[in-house]
């Protein structure tokens, strides 16, 4: 009886659904898109396919993992603020618990020689994975003089600052180029207006 009531409760549904999604998505953001498609669009009809596309676009332009953006949006659509809260907490909880448990054991784990050697090997791979991710992203990047300039400058500045220990914060670099881009745009707009007159 209670079980049926619970099942009908949308908040509970949101929580459980996103808990399941959070528990079974490996490998970062976009890996969860097919699962969300299946559950939220096809089965539960919580959002339409078009809305999925829309959220994916929003997720590109907002900070944070796409998982959170999806959970928040779908939750909000179902039950407003509290819906988004339940959905977001649902999607975050599994990994929070799993990682917390792992973190307690990792240091002791690393004292075992085999594990230590394994992780030494992994250290090299992590850098490669990151560079590879960056290269994949750069292929999808729009290429004009501005973006190429910004891309190259920020990469060079960042790399040099690391090698020489200058400690330039990446947020600072982002803000500088954000403003730069805005200024370029504003100047281009102004020139267009003047050309029209």
């Amino acid at each position: 009886m209670i079980y049926t009531l619970l099942r009908m409760n949308v908040l509970f549904q949101l929580f459980i659904t996103f808990f399941k999604i959070g528990a079974f998505t490996f490998g970062g953001g976009y890996a969860m898109l097919p699962i969300v498609e299946d559950i939220c669009v096809s089965r539960k009809k919580w959002i339409t396919h078009d809305e999925m596309m829309y959220i994916t676009v929003i997720a590109e332009s907002t900070p944070g993992p796409i998982a959170i953006n999806l959970a928040t949006y779908i939750g909000y659509k179902q039950k407003g603020f509290i819906g988004s809260l339940f959905a977001t907490i649902g999607i975050v909880l599994p990994s929070l618990l799993i990682i917390y448990v792992i973190s307690i054991f990792l240091e002791g784990f690393l004292e075992i020689k085999v594990v230590d050697s394994a992780f030494k090997g992994i250290a090299a791979a992590v850098g490669i994975l990151i560079v590879n991710a960056g290269i994949t992203m750069s292929k999808k990047m729009k290429k004009n003089w501005k973006s190429i300039f910004i891309f190259t400058s920020s990469a060079v500045i960042m790399l040099l600052s690391e090698l020489f220990g200058w400690k330039v914060s990446s947020i600072v670099i982002m803000i500088i180029f954000g403003c730069f881009s805005l200024s370029v745009f504003a100047i281009q707009e102004k020139k267009k207006k003047e050309a029209e007159l």
Binding site: S117, I130, G134
Partner: protein, 183 residues
């Protein structure tokens, strides 16, 4: 400490544009500037975060939070990194649905994205360099593993058209590590 965790990851949560890997340089900045963990331990945490369910940046936040301040730390750090994204999506849905179409917002974003990608590649390259050439000396083991992993990844893509998942590559690297550094 709790406050440092909260505000540190709040900052990361505000500026992590462009997906999982965008957050890594930001998290690295926060962690190194507070002196919480070293680059080496961070790379271990990144590897674990990639191999477990959940988004990488959330896992990293949970991990670092736990490392610094136990369960409360992990909850605080994870909540802080999630909060900006959560609030921004809600604000956009409620009030600013056309905010993202504003041409000035677009102009700023079109500057941020290439910058983020450049930063990601630079940080990754630095991590490779730092692992292979620690303190200006050559660590042959790391060099061999790096070359091997990179080669495997490229060959898989070009010859077999198969994109190996990060977990697979981490697994391969772990095996190589055991092979080279011993049991």
């Amino acid at each position: 400490m709790i406050f440092e965790l909260f505000f540190g990851f709040l900052k990361v949560g505000c500026f992590a544009f462009g997906g999982a890997y965008a957050a890594i340089p930001l998290i690295r900045d926060v962690v190194l500037s507070h002196g919480w963990i070293t680059d080496e331990v961070l790379s271990y945490m990144i590897a674990v975060s990639e191999s477990t369910p959940g988004p990488v940046m959330l896992n990293l936040a949970t991990y670092i939070g736990s490392n610094q301040a136990g369960f409360l730390g992990s909850v605080v750090a994870t909540s802080a990194i999630v909060l900006p994204a959560f609030l921004i999506v809600i604000l956009i849905m409620k009030f600013f649905s056309s905010a993202l179409e504003n041409k000035y917002v677009q102009a700023v974003l079109s500057g941020l994205k290439p910058a983020v990608i450049g930063i990601i590649i630079a940080v990754g390259a630095y991590m490779i360099i730092d692992t292979c050439l620690p303190e200006m000396k050559m660590d042959y083991g790391q060099i061999i593993i790096s070359v091997a992993v990179a080669a495997i990844m490229i060959i898989a893509k070009k010859c077999f058209k198969k994109k190996l998942s990060p977990i697979t590559l981490i697994g391969i690297a772990a095996v190589l590590g055991i092979a080279i550094y011993g049991v």
